[in-house]
Symmetry: C2
Amino acid sequence: MTSESIIAIDAMSGDLGAEVVVHAVRKCLDKESDLHIILVGKEKELSSLVTQIIGKESRIEIKNATEIVNMSELPTEALRRKKNSSMRVAIDLLKMGNAHACVSAGNTGALMATAIFVLKMLPEIDRPAIIAGLPAVGGTIHMLDLGANTISNEEQLFQFALMGSIVATDISNILRPRIALLNIGVEDTKGHDTVKAAANLLSSSSLNYVGFIEGSKILSGKADVIVTDGFTGNIALKTMEGTAKHFMKFLNTSINRDWFSKFQGIFVKPILKRLSLEMDSRHYNGASLVGLNGIVIKSHGDADSYSFQRAIETALVEVKNQMPQQIKKLLEQEKI
Amino acid sequence: MTSESIIAIDAMSGDLGAEVVVHAVRKCLDKESDLHIILVGKEKELSSLVTQIIGKESRIEIKNATEIVNMSELPTEALRRKKNSSMRVAIDLLKMGNAHACVSAGNTGALMATAIFVLKMLPEIDRPAIIAGLPAVGGTIHMLDLGANTISNEEQLFQFALMGSIVATDISNILRPRIALLNIGVEDTKGHDTVKAAANLLSSSSLNYVGFIEGSKILSGKADVIVTDGFTGNIALKTMEGTAKHFMKFLNTSINRDWFSKFQGIFVKPILKRLSLEMDSRHYNGASLVGLNGIVIKSHGDADSYSFQRAIETALVEVKNQMPQQIKKLLEQEKI
């Protein structure tokens, strides 16, 4: 690998189409001089967008892919029938060594199935997990699985904890990340059998396991890595986003209620702007599919160009940190 | 039943002890002239608190119970060994017809096990669920199960939907409540087998089933009743509370950052106060255990006196609406 970072982007699978992707690419290329982008999708459409939005740019290559995986498509169907989809071709580029990472805003299930099939899992890992950083009290917390799997057994939760610990050390420089299991109470007796069994596995491991954590404490900074199954994790993540949006909406309505509120609003708006920036879920877009032999970044399906830019930047950080190699190395050191 | 409402309160099981309970009782008695309270717990302690906080009051009765169920106690142990706990005695009063409802801030699992054992389930219902109203766009939404069960099968999710529909109609006067299943996506292919099977049951029922809903849309007002298993529901609920608290904390830090922020803060504070009131989870304290032959209200374990007051008021509304009788009647009309 040279010092340049080549990122393959599935430009067609997001809800908002290829235009937001090309805008994001323009911003990233402006910021990062050693970044190269392979845009994967319908060649004619992408060429036209690049000409229009970016102009002539030697660091962009377009790779034709005629099909698009739909959001409602079954993962197995996408994998079997759409071998020339933008998603598949982007992951193939990674497999063939033509790119260092892949970014997609497409169907999560299809992305995962394709990534597992093409790239394969790291040794000792059953299933990939989606992990992302969230803005918590005192810094970033890392949470997984955010929706790669709909159910998980205790061994898989244990593997997620292990991968999460490595990611937190590698990305956030936390030496012995505090690992917590998301549960409906903190007492040993709380929760279902799977979460209790995972607690037992973690307690007798070398990881810095600190116990159960409740939903109300996710952002409290009491743990660095929060481990849960993909169903619960996805719902917790989206619930946080929804609550934050609800909150902002309420504040905005509040300062437009009457003339006096509008007057108050003049003073509130700078604070709201700071809050917006700090809590903006777009800023935290770009979750990693960990556990694979390769860097695959999942963007929100409805990512706008700023969100998508953040997903590309996440990919870039992982390329520079050589994340899968780090995980593999540390997995070998850990007894599983 | 006369027009008076008698509520039995487990005064000992909350994290903050009996004092907050007695303060809450004082407020409720001041507001409701037909309310009678049976305080259940250590007689000496309760007598002393009542004398100190309320004084002489003919509408309060104290019922002695020598034991307390701990928060970490296994439900089966509490049920088997603590037959003279404040929790058990309060529920027994309900069973014997000496009270119309029971309120407890104690161990959820123990409360549920005791309530099932003493009161029994309504016909056609396997398990109780915890349901609560939440402040959403356009009004209140009702969500269940918030933690009565750690896992649920599709038939149980269907029963929750049915009970939720009845509660929403009865409490919020919604004629054909829109029922949604909480899931990790809105497409039919999303989620685990249980949630998909529950969707099939609901689609072919007479209920107004509107499909899957994501965590980000819980407070959107797109559904009136949100159905999920108790593990996910509890985590989603607490995540909402935690995010709202995080948000308020950030705003408060923001307006105390420097002298100019403090100046801005003068104008922000009235808006924050409105927000606080609107989003205050204490206001929504008091969840119902539905599906039982009797009204059992679960308060947050760490409820302060205002929260506990809200839980008593919820009990009162359900007594006046004769909730279990309504559910039973409507269950008989529905084909399950």
